[in-house]
Amino acid sequence: MATETLYQTEREELISGSEAIAIACAMADVDVITAYPIRPYDTVMQYVSKLKADGAFDCDFIVAESEHSQFEIVKHASAVGARTFCGSSGVGWFYAFEAITVTAGLRLPVVAMVGNRALDDPGAFGVEHNDAMAVRDLGWMLYWVGTAQEALDTALLAWRVAEDPRVFLPAAISCDGSFLTHSQAIVNVPTQEQVDQFLPQYDRGRLQLHPDNPITVAPQVNEDWLMEIRRQTDDAMRRCSDVIKEAYEEFKQLFGRGDSSPFIEEYMTEDADIIFVGMGTLAMPVRVAVRRMREQGKKVGFVRVKFFRPFATDEIREALSGCKAVAVVDRDYSYGSPSYGGVLFNEIRSALYELDQRPLAQSFIAGLGGREVLVRDVEEMAQMAQDSIDAGKVKQINTWIGVRE
């Protein structure tokens, strides 16, 4: 009821990415929300509890005794047909992993926010992408948000896609700690009518756990069934792409904003020799640097990967196929990985393998633990990519940027 009066007209708010997702929770009329504090994601729960206390919306708001319980509760709530939301950060997210893995296996469309934070030890509050990335092989959709506006919009998109019966998979929305979770920007908050039109009720149908629909969920199966179940989840993830496209088109029509693709954002890539690839708020210094270098006549561009899962192989391949060098900037690292490169780098390089004319691919590790990535860092990376082009090969595949020797 209250949301109807609150969100009758479109309006601007000065809010953080966390607050934007909290507003999305209210507008999506989420039924069950579970919280357990850890920075930087906790800002979303502060705002959710405030909205609830203010009477802006009603939900079961449960403060669990740990992250593990937090994710168990929403998993079960989702099974009985409740729209759900929760989240965590860093090692808190890892503590919930037993619950997180089964959520995808049971095809439960939980939506979670990950406030990206460096994994302990050493303790640090700043952004690093390794925390959220840990679900990359588990059947979770995984999205990296670039602005507070996108955080609100993506949350709505996440419920829409996750709860689609063709999908029924959980979705994680990654928001860079500090730069999104604690920075306030002007956000257009849509009307309740727009949201209601975009987001249908969650209907679990024949899979709903209910006394009128007697079913068993998650029996022990062993090797006799397991592989078929994995293949089913694989098929659901494969179906995601079309559902995302369909939902995104409708979103753009209803809300009047959005990029040309739901999966990636292309920035000045058309005639670019060097294309940077990155995720999240890294886009901010990279776009500024790209603009400056363009003014100097350098042909550089940027692709921001939004959906990390499902990975938009075709779109990414097409966006990068015409350039001479791809410079992937990872705010994460995989110890002992191929070429000792970043996680995104190795995914991108793998996607490029099928191309007849492959661009050079170079990996940069930057901004770990929330260290600022500066415009001059990006310019330095561009120079290294240019050196590779001039030499006709990449001499050093991975480079750590801004690390004290």
Binding site: F179, T281, R404, E405
Partner: protein
Amino acid sequence: MSTVAVEVVYRGIFQKTLARNIVRSIVFAARKEGKIGTAFGRYGDSPERNGIPAKQFAIVSDSPEELEENLAVYEAREVDVTINVDDTMCKGIESWAWYGLQPINALTKPGGTLIVTSRQAADALIEDIHQKDSAYNLAIIPASTSYSGLWVYKDDHTDVRILGALAKVCPELVSLDSMVAALEDQGWGGLKATSARNTYDRLTSRPVEPGEGSDDEPFSFDLPGWKSMEEGLVIRGIEEGGGFRGGSLGDSYDPINTPSILPQGYEPTRNSVFKKFSTRAMRPVINFDTCIKCTLCWLQCPDTCFDVTPDGLYDANMEACCGCAVCEAVCPVPDCITMVNEAEFNDNNSQYEHWTRDKDGYHNWMAELIQIQKDKDSTRSHGYHSPGVYESESEVALTGDDD
């Protein structure tokens, strides 16, 4: 104009809402003029320990592209206006978020303005503020430091007075009318809007020339590289303490049988580059003549800041003291330890050394400070338990004996 950046330097938790009100209002006001802005806190400062210097920023640009240059950073590289809402931070600030002491005007642009709320005169403040190579302006809003708690906000108009001042010193940011319109949108019309206008009308500022101010070298230290760090996230312990003023503990010291008998006194070793004293808004002043050597201040001090003198007295080390007032609270002797506004001091020198050198002079100095503390214009709360402070304020409120 392309981009205008403003920082608010405040004391953690007690002034967080104040800082937030200021930076958000700036963005709202700029929106009235079709500009776009962002408001954010200096991330490393939270969770904000009591009194720790912290920052919030407002950045306003003509276009999203210009604004983007200032996003995904912790601090603006430079600011047009620095707002300091506690004059004791004019001595410099140190927090979780950066290493070493940062001068209060470190980010202030050449020709920019430093706004301070203070009861002190400009000259007294400039004595505390570190020198700069370039000229800037100092504007003072006459006010006692505005402190609130975590759950309550002391709505004493400090926020709107600062916003009125800001429109005056930085007209390229927003006009006063836009600022007032933004205040009205937030339900702060009427008296609060009037306060903003009054400050706008009455504010004066004074230029601070290059080289004017304190010539203290702000302390800092070098961050290690990955090749020089110990592996396994190991930090070596610092050496144990020694006798008072760096001497040995002496031959007669028996750490096994009589560990608390320290003939040469005792001075704990402290981290030489993490001093923490900029958290201090009030400092203890100690009457060594009435001290009964009960050890409570020394035991209870959460920062181990008391040095034990060879004659068994306790000298609060002002490089280490955060001003938490626990010593004052636990001291069983009336008037032996008194918390006094940090603004009254210009150095961190030893009180014990002052007392041993000149007992009469020390007593006069101490009496004067305690008297100033009792004077309501100077009275301040550091937000912690501080006997006398709240009582004296409520007395004034009850009798209406206030201007």
